[in-house]
Amino acid sequence: MVEMFQNLYLGFSVALRPDVLLYAFAGCIIGTLVGVLPGVGPLAGISLLLPATFGLDATTAVVMLAGIYYGAMYGGSTTSILMRIPGEAASVMTCIDGYAMTRKGRAGPALAIAAVGSYLAGTVSVVALMFLAPPLAAFALRFGPPEYSALLVLGLLVLAYMSGGSMIKGLAMAALGLLLGMIGIDPMTGYSRFHYGLVELGDGIGIVPVAVGLFGVSEILLTAGQPTPPKVIKPKIRELLPSREEWRDSAWPIGRGTILGFVIGIIPGSAHIISSFVSYAIERRLSKHPERFGQGAVAGVAGPESANNSATSGAFVPMLALGVPSGPIPAVMLAAMMVHGISPGPLLISQQPDLFWGFIASMYVGNLVLLILNLPLVGIFVNLLRVPYPLLYPSILVFCILGVYAVNSSVIDVWIMAITGLMGYVLRKLEFETAPIVLGLVLAPMLEMSLRQSLAMSSGDYAIFVNRPITATMLSIALVLLVLSLKPLFTGKVDWRGSLSQQAQPGEE
């Protein structure tokens, strides 16, 4: 415990350095703007701004990118509450009761509850991250290639299972991502695979152009043609204070959302999105007045908003402790860390304590900055939505092109962005989730390497995946998940994921 506080002291000495503080502040503001803008989610935001961190040292860069991530979580709620436009996918559930509260003239309290809930959830989940990541990293030191293979397979299956909709479609998208990750030089034999004479593809397809294409460009393609900006409602600062009853009604949802969000955040999947859906469903189930949901129930804002912010910290646990991203956003963060010469994994905490603890401490600071920033400046942030979409989307496209090109100074990446943009547009039209593609792309080299190293260790004996207890446990869980997800296909019954999405539907009308 004493060691923990010493480490935290070290972290705060890094996080409170003026330059780090400045970039955390900048990250929070940019993240809030990214969250407010419909179409530019945290994933595209982090990918686009990655080149802007090239001139910074590793700690400052990671702190800034993390600020963008949780800033976007805060920002997404603003447009959901005021305009029924989810700034990013995790805020969809906030639209239902948040906007209903706005129509009742309670926009201010809805924003205040969302901000306070997000702050509390963010802070508590950072404490949990601080306690959980170091022992998990110590445990992961026992992991060899077979354990990593099993962990990656499990991660992909859980992602496909939790992504919502059909697991077969989710797995197909993960397989597509893994196949894209096969492009480039085979690290074991030196053979070039599927490069078609393009030297730039030797190192494989970069995650940034794929992420920007699938999430940024495809969103522009889907939403282009919107004529006029929607009406903007700006609450005054004195109207922000919730009533005593609203505070009372949101206390437990914030607590439950925090715990739920953190736990779901650790599990692979689009954690921040799923956690808000699950939290909304639970709050409606537990409420004494479920009929108020959809009509402006404050618990319908407090729960999901706390859950999605808490999931943000939860998602950092496997990334920092194991070096394995649990979703597309941690995957881009992982890629960003690698660009700066950091290798996340079990040794990160012991080898670079200033970076790890500085990052943890900066999250405390960032959450406070966001609480202070978001409420008084809410009027300024929503003004961004007054910009007509015909002017907004060319600006976003320019930043997509700039951000993608600047990572490797390669025009091939711009081509990849355009192609994956088209791919994402068609896939989303056909109701396929694109997040598993990004995770598959990141995990492909790790999975192939660990699988082939495992076989080299065992002289080609596949029993190595069964004989080792950790590996056998993880693969058994993966198998159970696979069977469970295939069951509704043959029995014709709706499983809990289906009923959850059905529960969420009526209020959305």
């Binding site: 080149p51 802007a52 090239f54 001139g55 059909s166 077969i168 479609k169 797995l171 197909a172 397989a175 597509l176 893994l178 196949l179 096969m182 085979d186 074991m188 034999t189 053979y191 695979r193 599927f194 460009v217 522009i220 393609l221 889907l222 939403t223 282009a224 043609g225 015909p390 989307y393 060319p394 600006s395 496209l397 320019v398 930043f399 997509c400 092109i401 700039l402 090109y405 600047a406 100074s409 025009v411 711009v414 081509w415 962005m417 355009a418 943009g421 088209l422 896939l427 039209k429 056909l430 109701e431 396929f432 192939e448 699988l451 082939r452 076989l455 002289s459 080609g460 004996d461 296909l489």
Partner: protein, 147 residues
């Protein structure tokens, strides 16, 4: 019935077959000692199987005819602008490419006034260059005319 799932499944299956055909140029290795083509072929087979399942169980999905494509003229124009940027970026330089891309999107696609189009395109091209190239030191290409 022709549904979205069945169409998507068919394309994914074709893609998987394409990968298997292309992988023939690489050594497959054995089950015990996988070669460079082993993993791509294994994954392509998995994708093919999943695509087949999507097609088989996709009959109850959304009919293809119900899909709305009303945004397609904008989508095609934006895609063309992205492809133009990819072609021109290192030939014309960053500023000229962005200037022309913005001019195309605002004037030809969105039918905005010349004044607004010119101000916006110049601000985006030169403003973003100044911010990223001059201030943040991000390397951006210059064309033959210094742009």
């Amino acid at each position: 019935m022709l549904t979205c799932d069945r169409i998507a499944g068919a394309f994914l299956a074709l893609f998987a077959l394409g990968v298997i055909i292309e992988s023939r140029a690489l050594p497959l290795g054995t089950l015990w000692e996988p070669g460079p083509a082993y993993m791509p072929v294994f994954l392509a087979l998995a994708l093919f199987l999943l695509a087949a399942l999507i097609m088989i169980f996709g009959g109850a999905g959304k009919p293809l005819g119900e899909l709305s494509w009303k945004e397609w003229p904008h989508a095609v124009a934006i895609l063309c602008a992205s492809l133009f940027a990819a072609l021109a970026l290192e030939r014309l330089g960053y500023r000229l490419t962005i200037l022309l891309t913005c001019l195309f999107l605002l004037k030809a696609v969105e039918r905005k006034s010349w004044t607004l189009t010119a101000i916006f395109a110049l601000a985006m091209a030169f403003g973003s260059f100044f911010l990223f190239y001059t201030i943040l030191r991000v390397p951006l290409p210059r064309g033959p005319m210094g742009f």
